[in-house]
């Protein structure tokens, strides 16, 4: 055998390096094991199990004290007595057991005999039938065999049944002996059921040596009790820019009490999630196994460490707390950070699309409604929010309403005229500060007012008669103006502008004309007509014109400095032509021409036409950024400029922008037309937080269809109705569809408030509602509030009728009520009830009842057959208060007891139906005629 060549390697050196690498490997293995054993989540789980055991121990104590000690003693005594009896009977039990075995044996034996004979019988029958069918002579012998075996089968069967009966008797004897003890045991167990259950629970979470061993480093691959918890979400994905990974949420690894009741007051991360009926529970709308956690909260669900999961603090205070406690730092490179808690509702809109509001997401809904109401969505395009109405007044005929001076003073600062206005401030903001800028701003304002008036139409205006201001103030309160407006010293509706200081703004003739018919001034206005008489309109005009803002009146109007006008025009011209050409063109302009040109440029630059109808801008495109995916926009695309006093996060940028829209120009050198243009809305903190939530909710994230809350066609129609209801502010006066009317809240007697419209679709006939919406008439003569005429199109009217029908789960058919044949007896009973219950006392409008006042003026019952659905009439007569709280209509059948036992056998249901049948044929005029003749 050849010796190994020693020159190839040195054994000593090999040993040395082997030893070194072994030590290194062992050390690194130890390191790995150590790091793994020390992971945060393991400590959290241990702490949670301890907490759970403590809670369960407390529970056990309570359960144990709840157990009736005396009862337990008694039951235990009973049980041991039963045991003793049992033991004393042990011999007979043994005996019976032996008998039982013998009986079983007997059954087996007899069963074999019976089954054997039965088989023979079956086979004989088969051959007999077969041979008889084929006329085979052998049939006769089988007939004989069959006859012979039949009694034997019968006999075997009787024997088997006898054996079975014997066994049952023995068994019953045995059971009787054992029963007492079993039942006593069961009673004891039942009493201790709760404590046993808790004891088991404690056993499961209590630390023990066995568990320590299972969780020990290197052994914890077998069956550890500390484990990473996760939900794998089938239809949901995380977007890693170039790859989509299935969503896996491991949050419950630390948030162990999140879906368990009882940890509401526990420290984080163990606290129970609020509202488990809505979230996390398997029966809730958002089961954890389907929706997970990061779908709503954001963050990195794959990770199990506090920092890597991208927790986001809600404010500076929490940030400082976390830095201290967890060593928290911002995950700069991670896009999908958790939403701070105050903005969580932004995530609802990912799946809840296409609805006007998201159920229970109050903050998001407020933000959305504000964005609609303040006109944010008039300027900013957002997918899914197209086709909204312009929120500002129509300015195409502004000259007939107010003068240029008012407009320019208003534009300087709208809140100076009316602090509650929704019109934002556009000019004289912080990025236009300084004397020179102020001159430019004033020039732009004067030019804008000039343009608007120069291009205004001049529709014919009526002459306002002299009115009574005190009466006008009363009419504003009585007619229902407060459903939309705050006025006459009452803070009420905010749908329309507050009706203050109008004497400082408009002229009386215009106001009178507007009140008489708003559509005459503007075809697109949302203001309906209240069908005011001339004297009513004159009274309201007189009152509103008496309201003035003297400080505003006496304030100086802005002036257009000629140089400032020239400078701005030059800036505009230079963007299109060379400097010399621009100068030449400017020099050719007359002063008025200059102002009109600058006005046009200013309106175009500021985008006024997005919220107002302005002549000459019918086709103009909005100036603002599209926000359809703003909730996912990359952080580096947000220009924080030189603003360092806010955290550089998406939500903080948006909120700052809303609160202080020009702030990001701070410290920058920009030309007049390069500066930020978003106007200042003077939002409250609640409002800016709500709108920030709304903006964060705007994402175009692709969510699998299965995971979305998709709307059915009917639901889409309901939403279309809701949008229209929002536009017309029907809920300013009427409570329905989950909203309470402002007018109802300020009306002391609920019977005098506009009717509640819950269940309207089940109440009225579609054709009637359609006609009523287009041409309202008086239904409730006692109401001072007046249903306005909205000038709805046919499509809009049908949308509303269908909306009400669908809300009540009905489809529209416009078919009306089909009257069933009714016997003359029943009609006679209906008439008698109608008279005895004195329905006509209120439901008949006579000259004397009208003179009396409110209470005598119930709805005209001749309307019933065209207006109401017959099944609704039944429900209404049964319990009017239940359907219209505070109604003056009394119930006559409390607890379905009739006060008239002699009619229709006193059957309340039959009586109510008879009244209904009579009402559908009720015609007092015809009745009077027939009596007269």
């Amino acid at each position: 055998m050849a010796k190994p060549n020693p020159s190839l390697y040195s054994v000593q050196k090999t040993f040395f390096w082997f030893a070194v690498t072994s030590v290194l490997l062992t050390a690194s293995l130890a390191g790995i094991v150590y790091i793994d054993a020390k992971r945060d989540w393991k400590d959290y789980q241990k702490a949670f199990f301890k907490l759970k055991a403590e809670k369960a121990t407390a529970e056990l104590k309570q359960a144990a004290s709840a157990v009736d000690k005396k009862e337990l003693e008694k039951l235990r005594a009973e049980h041991s007595a039963a045991r003793k009896t049992l033991e004393s009977n042990s011999k007979s039990i043994l005996d019976l057991n032996a008998k039982l075995t013998a009986a079983e044996l007997e059954i087996t034996k007899t069963k074999v005999v019976f089954q054997d004979l039965k088989q023979f019988e079956d086979s004989y029958r088969y051959y007999y039938e077969e041979y008889t069918a084929h006329h085979d002579p052998r049939a006769a012998s089988y007939a004989a065999k069959l006859a012979e075996i039949k009694p034997r089968v019968q006999e075997a069967k009787i024997k088997l049944e006898k054996a079975e009966k014997g066994r049952d008797t023995v068994q019953a004897g045995l059971d009787a002996l054992l029963r007492q003890e079993k039942e006593a045991q069961k009673k004891v167990d039942q009493l201790l059921d709760e404590t046993t259950r808790i004891e088991r629970k404690i056993e499961a979470v209590k630390p023990s040596f066995a568990k320590d061993l299972l969780n020990a480093p290197m052994l914890d691959f077998i069956a550890p009790t500390l484990e990473i918890q996760q939900v794998v979400l089938e239809n949901l994905h995380d977007d890693y820019h170039f790859a989509k990974a299935q969503k896996v949420d491991r949050c419950t690894t630390c948030h162990m009490g999140i879906d368990q009741k009882g940890f509401e007051d526990a420290p984080q991360p163990f606290r129970t999630h609020p509202n488990l009926d809505l979230y996390l529970g398997s029966m809730s709308a958002h089961p954890i196994e389907k929706i997970g956690c990061t779908t709503c909260h954001g963050g990195n669900g794959h990770s199990v460490s506090f920092i890597d999961t991208a927790h986001t603090p809600r404010d500076e205070k929490q940030k400082a707390e976390w830095e201290k406690k967890y060593g928290w730092r911002d995950l700069e490179k991670w896009e999908a950070k958790m939403l701070p808690l105050q903005y969580t509702q932004a995530a609802c809109a990912k799946c809840h699309t296409g609805t006007v509001e998201v159920p229970q997401a109050d903050k998001l809904n407020l933000g959305r409604n504000l964005a609609v109401d303040l006109g944010c969505l008039n300027c900013h395009k957002v997918e899914g929010f197209e086709g909204l109405w312009k929120v500002g007044p129509d300015l195409t005929a502004v000259a007939s309403k107010t003068d240029e001076t008012w407009v320019s003073k208003w534009l300087q600062d709208p809140t100076r005229f009316r602090p509650s206005t929704k019109m934002p401030r556009i000019f004289h903001l912080e990025n236009q500060a300084g004397a020179d800028n102020a001159k430019l701003e004033d020039a732009a304002i004067v030019a804008t007012a000039k343009y608007l008036h120069h291009h205004s139409a001049h529709p014919e205006v009526l002459r306002a008669p002299q009115g009574d201001a005190a009466m006008g103030e009363k009419l504003i309160k009585d007619l229902g103006c407060l459903g939309c407006h705050s006025a006459a010293g009452v803070t009420a509706g905010t749908h329309g502008p507050e009706l203050s200081s109008l004497g400082s703004k408009v002229n009386a003739d215009w106001l009178f004309t507007w009140l008489k018919d708003p559509k005459r001034h503007s075809a697109t206005t949302r203001m309906p007509s209240l069908r005011l008489s001339d004297s009513e309109a004159a009274d309201i005009t007189a009152y509103l014109m008496s309201q003035r803002n003297e400080a505003f009146d006496s304030a100086a109007a802005p002036k257009a400095d000629p140089k400032a006008v020239d400078d701005l025009i030059l800036l505009n011209l230079q963007s299109k032509m060379r400097h010399e050409e621009a100068v030449a063109q400017l020099s050719k302009m007359a002063p008025d021409e200059k102002l009109l040109y600058l006005g046009e440029r200013t309106i175009a630059h500021q985008g006024c036409y997005s919220c107002h109808d302005i002549r000459g801008f019918e086709q103009a495109k909005s100036i603002a950024t599209e926000l359809s995916d703003e909730g996912r926009k990359n952080l580096h695309q947000f220009d924080f400029g030189y603003v360092h006093d806010i955290p550089h996060t998406r939500q903080d940028w948006i909120r700052k922008k809303l609160e202080d829209p020009r702030v990001f120009d701070h410290g920058k050198v920009k030309g007049y037309y390069e500066r930020l243009r978003m106007p200042h809305f003077g939002l409250s903190e609640v409002e800016s937080e709500a709108i920030t939530t709304f903006v964060l909710s705007l994402t175009q994230e692709e969510i699998a269809l299965e995971a979305q809350d998709l709307l059915t066609t009917d639901e889409q129609r309901i939403e279309r109705g809701r949008r229209l209801i929002q536009k017309l502010n029907c809920q300013g006066c009427h409570s329905f569809d989950g909203k309470d009317a402002i007018l109802r809240s300020i009306t002391e007697d609920p019977g005098a408030a506009p009717p509640v419209l819950h269940g309207q679709g089940s109440k009225v006939q579609e054709a009637w509602l359609h006609d009523f919406l287009q041409h309202p008439t008086t239904i409730r003569p006692w109401l001072k509030y007046r249903m306005p005429t909205f000038g709805l199109t046919d499509t809009e009217t049908q949308d509303i009728v269908r909306y009400f029908a669908l809300l009540d789960g009905r489809q529209t058919s416009y078919r009306g009520e089909v009257l069933q044949e009714v016997s003359p007896d029943r009609l006679a009973a209906g008439k008698e009830l109608f008279e005895k219950l004195q329905c006509a006392k209120c439901h008949q409008i006579t000259a004397s009842s009208q003179a009396m006042g409110a209470s005598f003026l119930a709805p005209d019952l001749t309307l019933t057959k065209h207006r109401l659905r017959s099944d609704w009439v039944i429900d209404w007569i049964k319990d009017p208060q239940a359907m219209q709280e505070g109604t003056m209509m009394p119930g006559f059948f409390p607890d379905m007891q009739s006060p008239l036992p002699d009619i229709l056998g006193g059957d309340a249901q039959a009586q109510i139906e008879a009244i209904r049948d009579y009402l559908y044929r009720y015609d007092p005029a015809a009745a009077a005629e027939s009596t007269a003749s």
Binding site: Q838, K841, A851, M852, A854, T887, P890, F892
Partner: protein
């Protein structure tokens, strides 16, 4: 069972004993009226001839009634604060009658849960429409003469208005309390609240037109205490 029954009886006996000892105290007084009594407006009952017929000589509104001795009728006086015990509502009903298209009595007190028997003594339709804020509202039609309904008001509330929507001049007020210490001033303007345990109380007097007034009083075991309320313009 027998044992526990005995104990209950004993407790009841002892309680009665204690109660009778403390029952010496009572609060009495009157509601006087200052100034010119407003002229009573006649009620126009033309709209319902059956009402009109019942008052051939006409009838005046009953919201302010100043008695001959210069006191005010229909003032509801009750202990507002200072009680600590629990009091069982009596089973015997209080009556509210609709007679001559007016409510009798105009002002009354009941305990929460105590039955109120509402009677229609007229031959015309009345509806009794109670407008409590703390208890469920009710509005029931009473079309027949002699008809009776029993209702209760579940929660304390001063005052609950009851109106008739058929006859808008009709209004009655019910003071609902969780104790029996209340009274209504009558023809002589006086009231008496009996059997009040010794202690310090806030007594409130309410009137439909003139609002409420409160006074604080301390009653010792010895007995009587006088309170005078003054209403007026």
């Amino acid at each position: 069972m027998i044992c526990s029954w005995n104990r209950a009886t004993l407790t009841a006996l002892l309680l009665t004993l204690f109660a009778t000892q403390a029952q010496a105290a009572s609060v009495s007084g009157s509601a006087s009226f200052q100034g010119q009594a407003p002229a009573a407006e006649p009620i126009k009952m033309e709209a319902d001839p059956s009402c009109k017929a019942l008052h051939a000589d006409g009838i005046a509104a009953d919201d302010v009634i100043v008695n001959a001795n210069g006191t005010l009728k229909n003032v509801f006086v009750y202990v507002k604060e200072g009680l600590s015990g629990k009091y069982e509502a009596p089973k015997t009903p209080v009556t509210l009658d609709q007679k001559g298209c007016m409510y009798t009595p105009k002002v009354l007190g009941v305990m929460a849960g105590q039955p109120i028997e509402i009677i229609n003594s007229d031959s015309t339709l009345h509806n009794v429409h109670a407008l409590p804020k703390n208890s469920p509202q009710f509005n029931l039609g009473m079309p027949l003469q002699g008809m009776k309904i029993k209702k209760t008001l579940a929660k304390p509330e001063v005052m609950v208005k009851v109106k008739c929507d058929v006859h808008p001049w009709m209004a009655s007020y019910i003071g609902v309390l969780d104790h029996p210490f209340y009274a209504v001033t009558g023809e002589d303007g006086s009231f008496e609240i009996k059997d009040l345990p010794a202690g310090t109380y806030v007594i409130e007097a309410w009137h439909e037109k003139y609002g409420t007034q409160t006074q604080s009083i301390t009653i010792d075991d010895s007995g009587k205490s006088d309170v005078a309320f003054q209403f007026g313009v």
